[in-house]
Symmetry: D5
Subunit: 91 residues, 10 copies
Amino acid sequence: MLFSVRMDVDIPRDLDPEVRADTLAREKAYSQELQRSGKWPHIWRVVGAYSNISVFDVDSNEELHDLLWNLPLFPYMTIDVTPLAPHPSAI
Amino acid sequence: MLFSVRMDVDIPRDLDPEVRADTLAREKAYSQELQRSGKWPHIWRVVGAYSNISVFDVDSNEELHDLLWNLPLFPYMTIDVTPLAPHPSAI
Amino acid sequence: MLFSVRMDVDIPRDLDPEVRADTLAREKAYSQELQRSGKWPHIWRVVGAYSNISVFDVDSNEELHDLLWNLPLFPYMTIDVTPLAPHPSAI
Amino acid sequence: MLFSVRMDVDIPRDLDPEVRADTLAREKAYSQELQRSGKWPHIWRVVGAYSNISVFDVDSNEELHDLLWNLPLFPYMTIDVTPLAPHPSAI
Amino acid sequence: MLFSVRMDVDIPRDLDPEVRADTLAREKAYSQELQRSGKWPHIWRVVGAYSNISVFDVDSNEELHDLLWNLPLFPYMTIDVTPLAPHPSAI
Amino acid sequence: MLFSVRMDVDIPRDLDPEVRADTLAREKAYSQELQRSGKWPHIWRVVGAYSNISVFDVDSNEELHDLLWNLPLFPYMTIDVTPLAPHPSAI
Amino acid sequence: MLFSVRMDVDIPRDLDPEVRADTLAREKAYSQELQRSGKWPHIWRVVGAYSNISVFDVDSNEELHDLLWNLPLFPYMTIDVTPLAPHPSAI
Amino acid sequence: MLFSVRMDVDIPRDLDPEVRADTLAREKAYSQELQRSGKWPHIWRVVGAYSNISVFDVDSNEELHDLLWNLPLFPYMTIDVTPLAPHPSAI
Amino acid sequence: MLFSVRMDVDIPRDLDPEVRADTLAREKAYSQELQRSGKWPHIWRVVGAYSNISVFDVDSNEELHDLLWNLPLFPYMTIDVTPLAPHPSAI
Amino acid sequence: MLFSVRMDVDIPRDLDPEVRADTLAREKAYSQELQRSGKWPHIWRVVGAYSNISVFDVDSNEELHDLLWNLPLFPYMTIDVTPLAPHPSAI
């Protein structure tokens, strides 16, 4: 079951540099683990923005929420979720 | 070079039924031809809407514009284009 | 799997009165059949508007899209879909 | 008398951790007490957001305002209230 | 129980003049009957617009919806409803 | 001459508690004095918000601006002003 | 008492050409009469739009509403009204 | 003196085909004449839209308004105008 | 050449009181100097807001930008600029 | 391949003055280097704002993102990107 997800990141300027570096490292590891598992099949950078457009492939709304809620950058992101269905013209 | 594209379709209620059926058939054929060529790698339906979220893979802005402008449903669509770049966390 | 769905209805003023009456009758029957099946557990009227706020309980995004797409009033509605998950404070 | 209520939570990053933990514990207890009393029949998490969509069942606007105003998280929430009425197609 | 209600009127230009005149006459009579009954204690014109800002005093959401739904101009209006409560500084 | 006025209050979290208490006390006294004078005939709480919807009865735009500018909470409020005129259907 | 007023004009394409010409002529005459009387001291064209930004000088909200309501183009305009007061830095 | 101008075109579907073709031909000739004169130094197509982003170089606001007002497609366009000044980092 | 300009002021609460007083004094002097010179022919207060609506009379976009950029309150203002042209109905 | 880019700058008031001056100097040097290289052919100031409207000429979305991401002021800017194509009426 697919969802289109856009994440806009806004890390506070006064976040402790070590906390920041650690959070970004954990975010990357977490994202790559989900990509490898097939749960997060696509992630693209939005040109000119600290944002990504992603596609998630999950079994339920609840699973998607848990994956997003546990993103290390979750407290610093605005997330927009659009549920997707197969398109009748897709080959 | 990738672009995220959302298309919202609004076909006028008084469009001649044959014109409508013909336009939809041509739209489907055109979309599937582009999907087969690799130019339109993803197309998904937005749940609850006469809309799709797609990804295009083209060589230039101009090529993307030509592909979209020639959609048979182009006169009845609102199209939103977001340029994408590789994400540093993508595997 | 639950979704919050808001539907805003805008039936064209020049719709043939018989078509209109028939569409409304079919909409009501369709909605009540889904309510009885447990797929559409809640439907409320928005005060002062030709709109409803509903909750759907479905197995997938695709099932929800099919249910909404087949609403007899679908061509005359704007639909907004919000995926829901269990709340940790819910009893 | 039913109301649809959406609450978006934004707790300041610099809130004292003990105050934060205490506020969240009181919020949960308060919410569950109202759920048990029948005043707050539904609460769902919005996927990907620190937000909930709820339904309240109260005797008056004033009662609803008092319930919401006394939420421990009230100072950190944006609340959107939509009055509901029975839907003529509800079974 | 009070509600602030804003109504923006947009009567189609091609409405039959007799239907238009009749609808306006019925709207006025209906409004004045509700004003006399105490259900519609305030109605003001918004300067420069075919709109009013009103206050309704009703026993329930359902009653308010019925009053608004039965406005002869309801099909030609956009209505915005805000529930009100007593203000702690009101004398 | 009547105006509909909505005030949304947002007091900074780090305002000194004594300043805060004093400002709120002065706001209440100021509001009640204007209510007694007939300049501020209606004030209602917006359900679920730290906001009010009010009606002012003044002799001029300038008088209204002076009354609002001198609200003790003015620096912490967003104010929206709508000029009103008598409604032709008012009784 | 001054008001800033923006008017955006949208005349239906299918308006009878004679009605259109007559309406425009009456609008111009009406506007110039009010300008001569001092009630409409300023009118400017918005560059690139069928719109004007004006200033009205009237005795009351009610007078302003009557002037605007009787504009021959009123049914084809969206009007935005902003009440003005003297500025403390004005010379 | 430079202005950034965006034009969004929306030609009514029921416009007479000959009128449409003639209008488009006149628009093209008019635009190219202004480009040659140096008044309209840049015109680009917005990807995926019947829109352009242009730069005009004129002597005054009034001249710009006259140029835009006389566009053959003016009645079918929404135009957004942004005044520009030299940038201190421009070489 | 005329421009309509709206300025919304938002001075940070923690600005040093002396800096604040000095900035306001310089703003007033600067504004009055421009008013006397004929560059800033109108300035009005927006009722209920720390905002003004002004008209500037300048020789070029660049001159307007320089005047606005040098406002002592510029760093604390949001400024909206609308180019104006003579109105054909103006007397 | 051209893109229209608008950048709105908002430098935090409490940024260290030396860091600020250094960032601005590096921004200017970086911008001018790109202008000289032909990658950034146009940059204009938006009248009345700390903003620019620019045109970039790049080989790909990725190149544009890299150029923007490395702007010294990037952390303090909101950037809006519009892909452009040749206009059929351009000479």
